[in-house]
């Protein structure tokens, strides 16, 4: 076999061209029922950069579907200004954020802000971030995360990243982008398909299946360096990688002993162990976030259904019974909900199961949903679907209310994977 681990050259030109064409655009197609009215005053400081920072914060909060932006026209506030609570209450705001952006002596930028509870007439939070012009958006996402967390009680996901595969003119790109679609960069460019990307728990690596050698092989790819390691290239097919929550090993699906079966392997490719033995196909393994169990798809009962077993392979339990096609199980970060794809009357749709009551709810009305992936706070589920014959990504809140669509100008987007909270 040819050596698969070798140094690869970064093709800067390719990366640049992908940046130009592959910007994800996001369209909001549904919002939450009770949106919190929040006023984000224009940040003080140099007009251009301050406006850019303010608009990142506003766009993040608005896109989440949980907030309604209160008009702040004419309000000149910074984080030290006194707040006229009565005035803001009159404008219908429950919360107000005000801040400013100043240049530091060493040429960087400092963003400071305060968040106020208008009804309680009190400051809720405040923070300062040292940043640079090129990292201004990241600072805005951090500020939006603080506002989101203080006002909803759950962690914000505005600083997270997503991975997905773009198919464009016979070329496949594994791209990494900020969750708002900005800063899209190609991690891997290939003439052959790439599927099943999944983030390491620390967000530094992605495991995926690449067909560049005419067969499916599992790689672990370090994003910063571009270093790739073959984790599983056994005779037959190697696919469906899933990280253990401690990031030390992967559950993988191999066919070296016959039908697709689930094994575990260390992230460096050592220590292969067979996890379970079944007569049919076992695939799409996914660890629960506590690491104690593995959800997977199996056709051992005659049709593909979702099962759960303990992480050492015992105690197998069937979870889905409705319909003849239930696949791609993805447990929520809190372990209470299971997202999966169900086929109903020939349509493939995103469903969620409450694991305590086993109650199933279908969240979409589309017909080609695939590959669900939870946001790290569990609020949203990102899926691949098809609209007008094109592959797009769609984000749906786990109650089905909030919907966003993510697409690229030319090409199909598929195989989304939502990264962890930024560290």
């Amino acid at each position: 076999m040819r050596p698969l681990i070798r140094p690869f050259l970064a093709l800067v030109a390719l990366a640049a061209s992908c940046l130009a064409q592959a910007q994800l655009s996001i369209e909001i197609t549904g919002a939450g029922a009770n949106r919190i009215p929040v006023a984000i005053a224009d940040f003080g400081g140099e007009a251009g950069t301050s406006r850019a920072l303010t608009s990142v914060i506003r766009a993040d909060l608005e896109r989440s579907g949980l907030f309604r932006l209160v008009d702040t026209t004419g309000a000149a506030l910074t984080e030290t200004s006194p707040v006229d609570y009565g005035d803001w209450r009159g404008k219908g705001a429950d919360a107000l954020a005000a801040g400013n952006l100043t240049a530091t002596a060493d040429g960087r930028l400092e963003a400071r802000f305060r968040l106020y509870d208008i009804n309680k007439q009190a400051a809720l939070a405040g923070a300062a971030y040292v940043t640079s012009a090129s990292q201004l958006r990241a600072a805005g996402h951090r500020i939006a995360d603080v506002i989101y967390e203080k006002l909803t009680g759950e962690k914000g996901i505005f600083s997270t990243r997503i991975a997905y595969v773009v198919k464009q003119r016979g070329r496949y790109e594994l791209q990494i982008a900020d969750v708002d679609g900005h800063n899209a960069q190609a991690a891997l460019v290939s003439k052959e398909p790439i599927i099943s990307p999944t983030w390491s728990p620390d967000g530094s690596r992605i495991a995926y299946v690449s067909f560049e050698n005419k067969k499916p092989i599992i790689f672990v790819h370090s994003l910063a360096t571009g270093r790739r390691q073959v984790v599983a290239n056994f005779k037959g097919s190697n696919s469906a990688p899933a990280w253990s929550p401690d990031g030390r090993k992967l559950a993988v699906v191999l066919t070296k002993d016959g039908n697709s079966q689930i094994y575990t392997i260390n992230a460096d490719g050592s220590g292969l162990q067979r996890l379970a033995v079944s007569s049919g196909i076992d695939t799409e393994p996914r660890y629960s976030s506590d690491g104690g169990s593995i959800f997977f798809t199996s056709d051992r009962g005659g049709s593909p259904q979702v099962y759960r077993m303990s992480a050492n392979g015992g105690d197998v339990q069937r979870l889905t019974f409705e319909g003849s096609y239930n696949v791609t199980p993805r447990p929520s970060p809190d372990g209470k909900t299971l997202a999966f794809i169900t086929r109903r009357e020939g349509r493939f749709q995103l469903a969620v199961m409450d694991l305590a009551s086993r109650q199933v709810q279908i969240l979409t009305d589309s017909h080609k949903d695939e590959s669900p992936t939870f946001s790290p706070n569990g609020r949203m589920i990102l899926i691949a679907t098809e609209i007008g014959g094109r592959g797009v990504l769609s984000a749906v809140s786990s109650d089905g209310r909030i919907k966003q669509r993510l697409s690229v100008a030319a090409g199909d987007v598929r195989e989304p994977a939502w990264g962890p909270f930024s560290q």
Partner: protein
């Protein structure tokens, strides 16, 4: 909204910030990741053929490399037994040749479950070849699932074309189709 009802304790803590706001995140540099934080890699390509004419000449039965399957079926149909037998004979007579069988499915359903179904088709062809004398070491069966459709359409005609296993060869020198 419940966090808005938090005790005044938090507010009191923050009220003392003055011109140096502090909090759990105060003053943290936003450098968790840099814009250039992803290095682009280009995957290598497999190319070249250099196989003997009897495998590639359109007049030779060995140029027929595809076995088609019915919907939700994973057994080699009678109409393809002759093609499979011809390839088995070639592998028996040319032990230094290797074969990669790629199973495929139509586009409906999950990527990974289809990968497993495509594997069953490739395995069925491999099993037939082994029964006719080809050796285990000569053959690898793998799946492309629904990832490499030969027909790009979304109708029954395209799906029929894509429920398929293809046989690829590699010669003794290591050159070939995979």
């Amino acid at each position: 909204m419940k966090q808005l009802l938090l005790p005044a304790l938090l507010a009191a803590l923050l009220a003392g910030c003055g011109s140096t706001p502090t909090s759990e995140t105060g003053g943290a540099p936003v450098e968790g990741r840099t814009p250039g934080g992803v290095t682009t890699v280009t995957a290598p390509e497999v190319s070249g053929s250099g196989l003997p004419a009897e495998l590639t000449d359109p007049k030779s039965v060995l140029s027929k490399r595809s076995v088609y399957f019915d919907y939700d079926k994973y057994d080699v149909k009678n109409e393809f037994k002759d093609v499979v037998a011809a390839h088995a004979k070639f592998l028996v007579n040319n032990r230094q040749f290797k074969m990669l069988i790629q199973g495929n499915t139509d586009e409906r359903g999950s990527h990974e479950y289809n990968l497993s179904l495509g594997q069953k088709r490739a395995d069925a062809v491999k099993k037939s070849l082994l029964l006719l004398g080809a050796k285990e070491e000569q053959i690898e069966s793998v799946s492309l699932g629904k990832e490499k459709p030969k027909a790009e359409g979304h109708d029954e005609a395209a799906w029929t074309e894509n429920r398929r296993a293809d046989m690829l060869y590699k010669g003794p020198t290591g050159s070939g189709e995979f």
